[in-house]
Amino acid sequence: MISRRDFLQVSMAASALVGASGFGNWARLAAQQSLTQDQLLQFDTFGNVSLIHITDIHAQLKPIYFREPEVNIGVGNNKGAVPHVTGADFRKLYGIADGSPSHYALTYNDFSSLAQAYGKVGGLDRVATVINAIRADRPDAILLDGGDTWHGSYTCYQTQGQDMVNVMNALKPDAMTFHWEFTLGSDRVREIVGDLPFAALGQNIFDAEWDEPAEDFAPYQFFERGGAKIAVIGQAFPYMPIANPGWMFPEYSFGIRDEHMQSMVDEVRGQGADLVVVLSHNGFDVDKKMAGVVTGIDVILSGHTHDALPEPVLVGDTIIVASGSNGKFVSRVDLDVRDGRMMGFRHKLIPIFSDVIAPDAEVAALIDDQRAPFKAELEEVIGQTDSLLYRRGNFNGSWDDLICDALLSEREADIAMSPGVRWGPSLIPGDDITREDIWNVTSMTYGKAYRSEMTGEFIKVILEDVADNIFNPDPYYQQGGDMVRIGGMGYRIDISKPQGERISDMTLLKTGEAIDPAKNYVVAGWASVNEGTEGPQIWDVVESHVRKLGTVTVAPNNSVVVEGL
């Protein structure tokens, strides 16, 4: 008798085949300049259930460029494992031809030239077309939004997330979980959630006072599809009050709470679930660990760390699907669910090439409606860039270098700090920098740029603390961001060391002198999680700086030396 594991491995091979043929074809088709929407959407419908996953849109309604990371280091058991594989190694692993559309979509090399050839990605009007096409194959497909949806743009900030709510509602999701949404403040979150026409899920959203499940969010939702009973359990970002300002949502407590997750899985199985799906904002490595700790999960739809993987990762009998960020990808997962269990799957990570996939007219008009009141502000050109501006990567990106330069210059500081967030689209050389572009990499509800004195010792404590949030070998102690970006100071980091011993050789760049632990330095930064932070908004600081420069050129940054790989 063939075991469930065998079924999964057979279907994994089939999935790889779908992926491989798709990828091979793209390369050839691109060479013929004939990549079409039908080819991107091609999928032999499988089984009796379809899941559609999109996550970490960060309020990007319109097509953008998004450069995938060059540096994405895995530690502990995840050293060298996906998603910690980048560039040529990634292409080799998945059989992706150099210069192909997949190369452009999934890796960082030659980004500027490939971006000119293949154009922008994403746009929720294009995403709508993809979702409609999948629903044409499978009318009752389940659409799941992994969160980080109501944050990250000018219009989202000005409307407190309403633009995203309006457009997402038009896509008709079935459920959603959360992270940056909470930075709108808990009152606003409850106001939106109270009117959502779909489930707001989070088994790990607890009442902070009583440490009991919060009543405003359900742990799970059942769906009857294709003759099967499907439970979708939500998992919100576990470290919300630590990574983001807890004072904005003091009523709630989070955490991984994997024991409670197990009890929820057992509960839905007890109620007859044939399939258990976790809609997660844990981050990929945390999901991977959780899949090994909690038994009975069939599918984890993984968000938060912005990884895009062309194949699911298998942990025991659980498949983990990672669907990228910023509206750049949609994952389709078809499942054969029979006799109370998952018998097989077929998967495709669909890249949203905005020049290939036709926009859905209705959603395009709805997006224009959201933007219309702000059109003049959004489109104002502040400057131009000669350099590729991007953020993603474990250490400094060129957007962050520009932001740190703005802080050093506009705030007259010795050292600048910019948070290691993973959102923020890219611009290619020759692009205008509009106000919208600046807001796309800075917009948040706690964006004030502080100016403060810190001792050299305290700066080291901050760097050590943040480094441990990324490079702690146990994923449950990682928060899923990148390293804090530093301007005006160089340092050396040995990621293999424990907290307190990773950072060395801190050097003040303007003098070349070593940082003195006892001396005070003027530090400018933004995105402080402390209540009552004062200063101008970071987007105003950056706008003023870019306006003075006119044309931005960002020199290569070699001030961080990484060791212990």
Binding site: H179, W180, A208, D211, F237, Y239, M240, P241, I242, A243, N244, G246, S253, F254, G255, I256, E259, G283, H304, T305, H306, P419, G420, V421, R422, W423, Y450, R451, S452, E453, M454, T455, E457, F458, V461, I462, E464, D465, V466, D468, N469, D474, Y476, Y477, Q479, G480, G481, D482, V484, Q499, G500, A527, S528, V529, N530, G532, T533, E534, G535
Partner: protein
């Protein structure tokens, strides 16, 4: 600016204490365990210790302990200046041998629960709870 700076400095003081204090295992913790067990062997397993991986607020960290068949459970924060938190005792007619409370942690450290079983044996569970200054969510 004054508020920000004051916050930062207060934070700095806490964080510096954090780097100095907790990484040296406090001898008082080991002594308290020895006094509780009388030097007997302590087995791993049989005790459930529920604590967050990373504290949302180091000043009030929710901790739960349970051990079936325990007559007493001692809870320790090994890196605190005073490691002893509480000892919960259960009579023979106790409906359940569980307890939950909130504790203050001076910094990243191990929280330890040691259960004394009705037969006089001991079991323990340990969990490392990280206290961090936060920021930078992806």
């Amino acid at each position: 600016m004054d508020l920000t700076r004051r916050d930062t400095l207060a934070l700095g003081a806490g964080a510096v204490a954090l780097t100095v204090l907790p990484f040296r295992v406090n001898a008082a913790g080991e002594e308290a365990i020895a006094a509780f067990t009388g030097g007997a062997d302590v087995a791993e397993g049989g005790v459930t210790l529920d604590a967050p991986e990373i504290a949302e607020n180091g000043n009030t960290v929710p901790i739960g302990v349970s051990a079936e068949g325990a007559s007493a459970i001692m809870l320790l924060a090994m890196g605190n200046p005073t490691p002893g938190v509480a000892t919960f005792t259960y009579g023979e007619l106790a409906g359940s041998t569980t307890a939950s409370t909130r504790i203050r942690l001076a910094g990243t450290q191990d929280v330890v629960a040691i259960a004394k079983m009705a037969d006089g044996s001991f079991a323990k569970a340990t969990k490392n709870v990280k206290v961090t200054i936060g920021g930078c969510g992806g």
